[in-house]
Symmetry: C2
Amino acid sequence: MKIVLIGSGNVATQMGLALYAIGEEITQVFSRDITNAIILAQKLNAIPISNLQNVNAEADLYIIAVKDDAIENVVLQLKDVTGLVVHTAGSVDIAVISKHIKNSGIFYPLQTFSKTKDVNFENIPLCIEADDENQLSVLKKLAKKLSNKVYVLNGEKRKVLHLAAVFAGNFTNHLYTLANQILSNEGLDFDIIRPLIAETAQKIEHNLPENVQTGPAFRKDDLTLINHLNALENNPELFNIYQILSNSIKLVHKY
Amino acid sequence: MKIVLIGSGNVATQMGLALYAIGEEITQVFSRDITNAIILAQKLNAIPISNLQNVNAEADLYIIAVKDDAIENVVLQLKDVTGLVVHTAGSVDIAVISKHIKNSGIFYPLQTFSKTKDVNFENIPLCIEADDENQLSVLKKLAKKLSNKVYVLNGEKRKVLHLAAVFAGNFTNHLYTLANQILSNEGLDFDIIRPLIAETAQKIEHNLPENVQTGPAFRKDDLTLINHLNALENNPELFNIYQILSNSIKLVHKY
C-alpha cells in the first residue's frame, strides 16, 4: 500500500512509525513546516513536502493527522486524488471528508501520543469507519496489521468515546499536574506521588473503577473533607475542583 | 519487634502482610468485628481480639489503622501501654496520640490499598514522624526494612501530601468511573479505554505531567470543547466537571 501521511505532530509521527515498522510504504510526508516534514520523512524513508499541490495523486491511502479545524482545508486540496482519504480525529464527522471526496474513512487511534515516547500500536484501540463496505474492509485489513484491537464505530459512538477519553486521559493528567502544584508549593517532589499514580491506574486493569474507589469522599470522612477544603481556601480554583469532584464521588457512590 | 495491629481494613491488611513478610512478629490483630480480626490474624499468625481491654500491654509497637475519626477512641483505650503508638493516617495530627500517650508517632504509607490486591511495599513511600528522636529512629529503622522510600515529614507536609494524593489518586479513579459511565450509556465497554489510562499514567513516570498534557483544552480546540459540552447538556454534573477542568487546563497552560 502506498500511503501519504499528512501531518507531522504526535499522532502523525507515531502512526507513521507504526506503519513503517509493519512494512507499509510511506511515499510522502506533508507538513506546512518543511523542517518538520523532513524530520519525520527521514524516519519513514519518505519524501517531505510542504505544499499539497505536490501531493502524489496515485497513492492508495491518505492519512490526515492535523489539528481538527485544519482537516477540511486539507481535504479541499486533495480533491483530485482517487485513493482513500481518512482522518484520525475523535470528534470530527466523516462528512468533512465525504462531502468533498468519494473514498473517505476514519482511522482513529484511541491513545495519547508524544513525538518522543514510542508506543506499541498492538495494544492501541483503532476505531475505523467508512461509508462503503469495500473501503471499510481495506481499512480493517490495515488496522488489524497494526493493532489487536480494531473497532468499527459510527461517528456518534466515536465522539462519545473521545469524550470519555478526555475524562480518563486528559483530565487525569491535569489532576496529576494540580497534585504537583500542591506538592511543589510545599517543597515536595513529584516523585513521592508517582507510585500512587501507577497503582491507581494498575488497579483498574482488572477491576471496574467504581469498585475500587477509595478516599475521604468515598468513605464519608467529612472531617478530612472539611480540612482539605480549608487548606484550599486561598486557591478558589482548586477549592472548586475539590468540591465538585468530591460531590460527584458522593453522588455516584450514594453517600 | 512485637507489634499489635489495630484494624483489619485495606491499610491494616496490606501493612500487616508486609510486616509479616519481613519477619516481624504480629502478636495481635484487633477488629471490632471478631470475624474480620480472625481472617487477618490467621494470615499473620497472630491472635485475634475484638476488645481492646485484651490488648497485649507489652508490645513494642501499636499500629492504628482504623478510620480517621475512630483513632482517638482507640488511643484512649491504649493509655496503659508503654510501647510506641502510631497511626497510619494522612490527615490526622500526631497530637491525637501524643496528648494521651508518651511514645507516639506516624507511619503513613502513601498508597491506595485493597484487601484483595497485594502490593509491593518496597516502592511505597512511607512517611514517618515522631516527637522524640529515639522513637523516630525506631520508626525509621522499621520503615527502611519495608520500603526504599522513607520520608521524615512533619504533620503540615504530610497533610499537604495527602491532599495531593486525593487529586492524583482518588479523583483520577473517579474520572475513570465517569468515563465508564459515558461509555456504558452508549453500550461501549470499559476495555476500550484501558490502554489510554495505562499510557496516561506511564507517561508521567519519566516526565512531569504539565509537560505531557494533551487534549482539546490544551490545544485550544474550541470547536471540540463546545461539541463536548453540547453532548453533556443533559448531564449537569458531567457538564460542570468538564467545564471546570477544561478551564483549569487553560489557566495552567496560559491558553
